[in-house]
């Protein structure tokens, strides 16, 4: 019983992080109507940026966010404005290919500069845990990652609801032509949206880099998680992403506990498959 309870806690904590993995991708799906195939690679890029900042400045991973977040915003904005915006009017395939191209470029650049060796953002917090009972413990770093993930989503939701820029992004998402007639520069708005999406990838990338080993090729793992969260939650729904993250995390960890660790990944994707059959538009579709 304790083992199940422990895995529920672990699943929920992981779910909060998974939600943050998917929220940026969901946002870009909903607003710019782009499937960002490089989302996972951008996330891993953030882990490597953090690694470089830690090495250069001697900072801990959390402090490195001061550099990682603005750097990721600038990368996102530039990628959107200088490249993706130029192919948006040519249908769905060209932007998809551009993001696929970015995925390959990021992986190979990381491979060139950092080699294929496993990396980790080290912090003593990873070894700490809070004892709930004799057999149940909450790993502190998982708790932090979950809280950070949830905070990212809450802040994003607040920004979208309460700022003029957020309202303009939502308006553009609803009807980009009508938004232009209201004076909204949609190409700039898309750039800001991609920048924000990359900021979420930056924060999440650092949390992932602390919790797990990462390699230049790790992006595809997180792309699949992001896809699952976006599909389960409903494209473009920030709240849906949060719920989907918890469902996916719980399914993986609790399922793995019951059926064996070998099936952990598989169970998560079975839940995704069931979701696609029963409610393909997602739990909170727009």
């Amino acid at each position: 019983m304790d083992a199940i309870l422990q895995s529920i806690i672990q699943g929920l904590l992981l779910g909060g992080l998974y939600a943050a993995v998917g929220v940026g991708m969901s946002m870009i799906f909903g607003i710019v109507q782009i499937t960002n195939l490089a989302h996972g690679d951008f996330l891993v890029l953030a882990s490597f940026v953090s690694l470089s900042v830690m090495g250069a400045m001697g900072w801990n991973p959390f402090l490195s966010l001061i550099i990682v977040i603005p750097v990721m915003f600038v990368i996102g904005y530039i990628v959107q404005v200088t490249m993706l915006n130029k192919v948006l009017s040519r249908g769905a395939e060209p932007p998809l290919l551009v993001t696929f191209g970015f995925s390959i470029i990021i992986q190979n650049l990381l491979l060139y500069f950092f080699t294929a060796n496993a990396q980790k953002l080290s912090t003593p917090l990873l070894l700490k845990s809070i004892a709930i009972s004799a057999n149940i413990r909450i790993p502190v770093m998982y708790l932090i990652a979950c809280l950070v993930g949830v905070a990212v989503i809450i802040i994003l939701g607040f920004y979208m609801r309460n700022t003029y820029q957020g309202k303009a992004i939502r308006a553009t998402s609803d009807d980009n032509e009508a938004a232009q007639l209201m004076g909204v520069n949609i190409k700039r708005t898309y750039g800001i949206a991609m920048g924000i999406s990359m900021m979420t990838a930056g924060v999440t990338g650092v949390m992932i880099g602390v919790l797990f080993n990462f390699y230049p090729s790790s992006g595809s793992t997180y792309l699949i998680i992001a896809f699952a969260v976006v599909v389960i939650g409903g494209i473009g729904s920030i709240n849906g992403t949060l719920v989907a993250g918890f469902i996916f995390g719980l399914a993986q960890v609790v399922g793995g506990q019951i059926l064996g660790a070998t099936y952990q990944q598989l169970i998560g994707y079975i839940v995704l498959l069931i979701m696609l059959i029963v409610r393909p538009q997602g739990l909170f579709s727009k």
């Binding site: 939502r170 308006a171 609803d174 009807d175 009508a178 007639l181 209201m182 004076g183």
Partner: protein
């Protein structure tokens, strides 16, 4: 009166299909210009060309002394051109207040306090203030039409393009929308107005432009245009001898 808009030799095509050709006309400041014509005459395309949603392949559009022919819709909005759609297209996930706020914030670029004051003023003048917190997707057609006008007004336009504001409404609702149009005329905003109810147009406009097959057929005072043989032929057809 000062000329606020000059359209000169305008040509617009969708691919190889020419929709507007050799279209020229002027609009004076604070004037209400009605645009009439049968289906397919190019009325909505004219609205799209003036608001920047389509770019002409030839000709010029000069607004308030600036050549805006190649400018984007958002640049034209900030320069003072507002537009409504025939079939309302509110931002359905935003509240009525938020819809108007976007126009006030981005169309004019005022300070935060001024933006909110503008939004409130516009909502009151269009009888939508009580519904400020309603999600736009839940509005009735009449209120959606009001919201179209409110959003455009929030951008503080010098020229307002009204695309069939009365279409799809009951007689009572048309009366309410016409009261709103009368209010707009009173504000001194220059208006270009497309409508199928020609009688209403003739009574409420300063000038009429009749389009036929993508070009200007006749332009002038409403009485003159309505009495012309050309308009009669366009709407009723030519009687065979």
């Amino acid at each position: 009166m000062r000329k606020i808009l000059n359209v000169d030799n305008l040509h617009v095509a969708y691919g190889k299909f020419k929709v507007l050709h050799e279209l020229s006309f002027d609009v004076e400041e604070s004037q209400v210009l009605g645009v009439i014509g049968p289906n397919g005459a190019g009325k909505t395309t004219l609205m799209n060309a003036l608001s920047g949603l389509v770019i002409p392949y030839d000709g010029t559009v000069v607004f308030d002394g600036v050549n805006i022919t190649k400018k984007s819709p958002d640049e034209r909005c900030r320069h003072g051109i507002g537009r409504t759609y025939q079939v309302p297209r509110p931002f359905e996930g935003l509240t009525v207040f938020e819809n108007v706020l976007v126009g006030a914030a981005y169309g004019v670029g005022k300070s935060e306090r001024a933006v909110i004051a503008k939004a409130v003023e516009v909502l009151k003048s269009t009888s939508l203030y009580e519904k400020s917190d309603t999600v736009a997707g839940r509005l009735t057609l009449l209120d959606r039409k009001r919201l179209e006008i409110a959003r455009a007004l929030a951008t503080e336009p010098k020229l307002l393009l009204l695309d069939e504001v009365a279409a799809g409404l009951t007689d009572a609702e048309v009366h309410e929308v016409m009261e709103l149009v009368e209010y707009l005329k009173g504000t001194g905003i220059t208006i270009i107005w497309i409508e199928h109810v020609i009688k209403t147009m003739a009574e409420s406009t300063d000038k009429l432009l009749c389009l036929s097959t993508g070009t200007g057929l006749i332009y002038g005072d409403p009485d003159y245009v309505m009495a012309s043989k050309e308009v009669e032929e366009v709407y009723l057809g030519v009687e065979e001898e």
